[in-house]
Amino acid sequence: MVTNRQRWEAEFGASPRRDVGFATMSGIPVEPVYGPDDGEFPGQYPYTRGPYASMYRSKLWTMRMFAGFGTADDTNWRFKEIIKAGGDGLSTAFDMPTLLGLDSDHPMALGEVGRCGVAIDSLADMEDLYSGIDLDRITTSMTINSPAAVVFAMFVAQAERAGTHRSRLGGTLQNDILKEYQAQKEFVFPPRPSMRLVRDTISFTAAEMPRWHSISISGYHIREAGSTAVEELAFTLANGFAYVELAIQAGLPVDSFAPRLSFFFNAHIDFFEEIAKYRAARRVWARWMKERYGAQLERSMQLRFHTQTAGVSLTAQQPEVNIVRTAIEALAGVLGGTQSLHTNSMDEAMALPTEKSARIALRTQQVIANETNVAHVADPLGGSWYVESLTDEVERQAEELFAHILELGDGSMLDGVITGIEENWFQGRIADSAFELERKFNRNERIIVGVNGFTDGNDEAQMPLLRITGEDEARQRKRLSEVKADRDQSAVDSSLARVRAEAADPEVNLMPALIEAVGRYATLGELMGAMGDVFGRHVEVPTI
């Protein structure tokens, strides 16, 4: 009889090992994992304890810092700073007009260009954004959803022009449209045509880009919008199941795309609940993928995730204290077994981070990775009565929410999620939870240091903040008009006509037409407009 431990030992033995000593500070040797011989081990179904046998003993999490502001040149400079400071992955923040598929010269873009992220209007901007960055080596994540297919087409086109074939590109497209309607609210087209674009990107990457993650199914924004930890987990995995059903309906075998799905969770301030959430997420995903969707590959069942510390937990009061909050949240992500991590900067309740505060945020991860020894042992809290019990309870409550969503969809997760969006069910639950938390704060049942308690020091002058000037907006508009003047307009027109025609035929995959069009410098706004002519626009019914 082979025990779980023996199976784990075999797999662990075959894994690469980081070249560091694994002992406590006082020299006590430390095992890679602890637990009974017949218990669940990391890398074993249902992966409660981690997707891999060796976890951080093979490779630490990727320190992936989110950045983007101003023009593509400005962000390219910040990217190079991040790489120089030891960051090993890039994560791109786009500005609001880009997130909504508008060019920088659109009237609604006024005051927003380059403010919350980098402005991208055409392939020319994308070329500047990644100029001089070795995309063979550095993986890239792009936080873009409604216009994800177009921005992705630009990314592929620029990388190939710079000499990296699409098959060698590694990274992640957020491309999670469902949570936009539920939480983040950067939507453009109605849910069903948007899901067709998601299907097209999944099919395209499954066929041509083996190193690329086609979707990052994101709970982060659901949590930031006010959900509880259980709702974050349940809504995120429900969205994941909806994408799986979408791809299966499109004729893709589950094991052909599921290994490339990835997740993105929040790390909020309730330390143990967050760790339980990550453990439950892995277990639920594995069970559903195997039992409901018939996955056979382990990689289809192994939930891998990125973590970002909770922006909403940061305070404008005594902002230095945010460094402490972020460190605690980041530690929860690491003890929960995250594959990559972004740590927020102390000044982000007020502005985009300064270079210094972003560096401190990265240093926070480096302290956890290099000084604390917490990465020596996989799932160090596995077996804790408290954490195991919380993990079970989070899972149980999530299953109740899945049952409701399945009811909304008459047995289909895909239809249930879309119906829940159309009926404002998700949005209402999230707003209710946000308000409930606010009530606790207002009744002083929830103390936030520096806000409703311990306020000495709040009268200090505000720390220096990053200021984004209006000059970026003018520069970006000028650049856009130059690009438009330099391009072959008839080629652009014929590309836009092709996109419009193919958008009208739901059987066609739009990616090739989009890649052709961006290569001719059709702009983001033009391409979204062409698709919008066919798809229509989503309007949310305002509810309080």
Binding site: C116, K185, G226, A316, N442
Partner: protein, 139 residues
Amino acid sequence: MSDQVQHAKARVLVAKVGLDGHDRGIKVVARILRDAGYEVIYTGLFQTPEMVAASAVDEDVDLVGLSMLSGAHMTLAPLVVEEIRRRGAEIPVVVGGIVPDADIAELKTLGVAAVLTPGATADQIVSDVAAVLASFSGP
């Protein structure tokens, strides 16, 4: 009628102007004001300054609350004030959200009645709104 009762009946329009989709704060504030007795109307997302001003005038509201978290407050909030004035109305505009200290004084010189920053409690929000209404409904 006491100020308290008068203001409890006031109508407030809360609005998201521009492209910023963050609507957690505006919904929480809308509920806080509703619980305090105000009649609250929410515009929904992606409004232009013209649309907000037109709704404020059409709905005959006593106060407009703008929720702004994307950094576009210096551009958009004064435009809302201007558009309301252009329609011959005198409706106070309150901005809530992420506004650095350095911008608050300037927003006020541009006609914004008050600015609520992160961490404001329900009581502060209600009393600031009441104070703005009182100063606008003066003699």
